[in-house]
């Protein structure tokens, strides 16, 4: 057995020992299907050294499943996900951001809808760690984007014990589950960063998070009229398949070209939001056709069939960023944006990144 003789860290580590360790992780049931980095004490300690937190601090729990997440477990899962140690402050901020979504503390992770977090990173940490904010921002291709998002999935799987076909009952789930961690393209956005709407000052690194059900593109390279452009978004946002309750949140991740066109027409983020909130929704006539026109006392839609076809059901319950968060990300090479179906709503509360996000203490500036 060469495995037991393999040193923890050597320049020319034994690849076969590494393979055996990866297989060991699979055999324990810890993997999401992709290889895990075997986490050893020394590696996890390097993660813990980036933050001033007690390893046994509890940072999340599903009491009904008798499971808790500690800083230590977060570090183990982040290491296994393939993060570098200096990503760990971002992982903790991302986890906290997701915890602020009320559905994450209820049964969200167990839901048949199989939601997945949308994570948005703002501030200087994007450049420090090499987060992608531009082309192909929904991934893959960039280690911090992929591994931070994956860390959250492994924490839910391993530390919370919500495993597919067990307590995780997603009917189909969604493409890109545990894989979407965007950096906002602040440099090409005409508007304030999402984290500023989340209460964190501009220039401070922060993560925002919300559970989502999918994302669907709006490809409009066809008009220079901002109202036509927004009407295209309104159509996608309003589609009936997503409607199960009286109201729904949604997010828009605008590409720089769309954002700049709207800003060029004098529209602020709030103006864009107000335009969409006013117009998104369906007539009862449309909802009758799909069996969703009725709304019960608990807010759940049903096939009533007797409602007034002329009545218009607005999609958004409120007009703020909690119901319609707006982000700018992607390349400035085409008018292709994304509507994101938000599961329960955004907390409108971003989490500052606290810790050392550079590889060594000597080189590191405290964030």
């Amino acid at each position: 057995m060469t495995v037991t003789e393999a040193p923890a860290v050597v320049p020319d580590a034994d690849p076969e020992a590494a393979q055996a360790a990866i297989e060991h992780c699979y055999a324990q049931g810890w993997s999401d299907g992709l290889p895990l980095v075997p986490a050893t004490r020394s590696l996890v300690d390097r993660f813990l050294a980036t933050v001033d937190r007690q390893p046994d601090e509890v940072i999340g729990a599903l009491e009904h499943l008798n499971r808790t997440v500690t800083v230590e477990l977060a570090a183990v899962n982040a290491a296994m996900a393939g993060c570098r140690p200096e990503y760990f402050p971002v992982v903790l901020a991302a986890w906290e951001a997701v915890q602020r979504d009320r559905s994450a503390k209820g049964g969200g992770w167990q839901s048949t809808s199989g939601p997945s977090p949308l994570l948005v990173v703002n501030g200087p940490v994007r450049e420090e760690l090499g987060f992608n904010a531009a082309g192909g921002v929904f991934g893959p291709g960039f280690r911090p984007n992929m591994t931070v998002a994956r860390s959250i999935g492994l924490m839910v799987r391993n530390a919370l014990g919500v495993v597919p076909h067990g307590f995780e009952q997603a009917t189909q789930g969604l493409p890109g589950r545990w894989q979407v961690c965007l950096a906002e393209n602040e440099e090409e956005s005409p508007w304030e960063p999402l984290s500023v709407e989340g209460g964190v000052p501009a220039g401070t690194s922060a993560v925002s998070g919300m559970l989502t059900r999918t994302a669907e593109y709006v490809d409009n390279r066809h008009t220079a009229d901002p109202e036509q452009l927004l009407a295209d978004f309104a159509d996608t946002i309003s589609r009936s398949g997503a409607a199960i309750f009286r109201h729904h949140p949604a997010a828009v991740v605008f590409c720089p070209e769309h954002a700049q066109m709207l800003a060029g027409a004098g529209m602020s983020k709030a103006d864009v939001r107000a335009w969409l909130v006013e117009r998104c929704g369906k007539s009862k006539a449309d909802l009758i056709r799909v069996g969703k026109d009725g709304v019960g006392d608990n807010g759940v839609r049903s096939a009533d069939g007797t409602t007034d076809p002329e009545v218009f059901d607005r999609l958004f319950a409120t007009g703020g960023p909690e119901a319609l968060p707006i982000v700018v990300a992607g390349a400035r090479n085409a008018g292709i944006s994304m509507v994101v179906r938000v599961f329960a709503g955004w907390s409108a509360s971003s989490v500052p990144v606290v810790g050392r996000t550079t590889p060594t203490t000597q080189a590191g500036a405290q964030q």
């Binding site: 360790a21 499943l65 492994l154 009952q169 759940v300």
Partner: protein
């Protein structure tokens, strides 16, 4: 030098929870028992429990005194106050319908909590959610806990179909909440 044994466990799991017996004392019949209905807001849940209550009253002498409660946070086990009230006011409780990923598990947790507090309970889940329902029984330290299943889906049934489901479930509800089931469990 590190070995496979040095790879850290990402689950934090060390021991399995061992719980007390999840079986309350049973009566031999239901004459005069006060029913509790704990519905979880899932479509047709209240109606199915109501149909069962009617059958238990009409055919098995259950009391017309029925405590109807709605669990608004369907994903989570019932709140302590609601548990206390059901235990105080009811002799038998029907719980359901576990018809989603989270509420199927929490319905089983509720049934186990009621049994441990001394009240026989019949928990009804859709048969699409046995993995999560049984998983919760293990988490609660009652891996053999018996719950009832009805064919999925339940939510889109019309009222007559719901009543039919109630008729189908009735015999198993009876054996579950009366002594017959305790005897069966011991025998098995």
């Amino acid at each position: 030098m590190a070995t496979l044994a040095d790879i850290l466990d990402p689950t934090g799991q060390t021991t399995t929870r061992i719980g007390g017996a999840a079986s309350a004392p049973r009566r031999t019949d239901l004459t005069g028992v006060r029913l509790g209905l704990l519905e979880n807001t899932k479509h047709n849940a209240a109606l199915l429990l109501e149909e069962l209550a009617t059958l238990l009253q009409e055919q098995h002498g259950a009391s017309t005194t029925v405590l109807r409660r709605t669990k608004t946070a369907f994903a989570l086990p019932l709140p302590e106050e609601q548990l206390t009230e059901l235990v105080r006011e009811c002799d038998v409780v029907l719980v359901g319908v576990g018809d989603c990923g989270s509420c199927s598990a929490s319905a089983v947790a509720d049934g186990i909590a009621l049994e441990r507090a001394g009240v026989p309970a019949a928990v009804i889940c859709s048969d699409a959610f046995t993995a999560t329902a049984s998983g919760m029984a293990e988490v609660q330290g009652a891996p053999g806990y018996h719950y009832l299943t009805t064919a999925h889906p339940v939510a889109i049934l019309d009222p007559e179909a719901v009543a039919e489901r109630a008729r189908q479930l009735l015999p198993e509800v009876l054996t579950t909440v009366t002594g017959a089931s305790a005897v069966q469990k011991q025998a098995s």
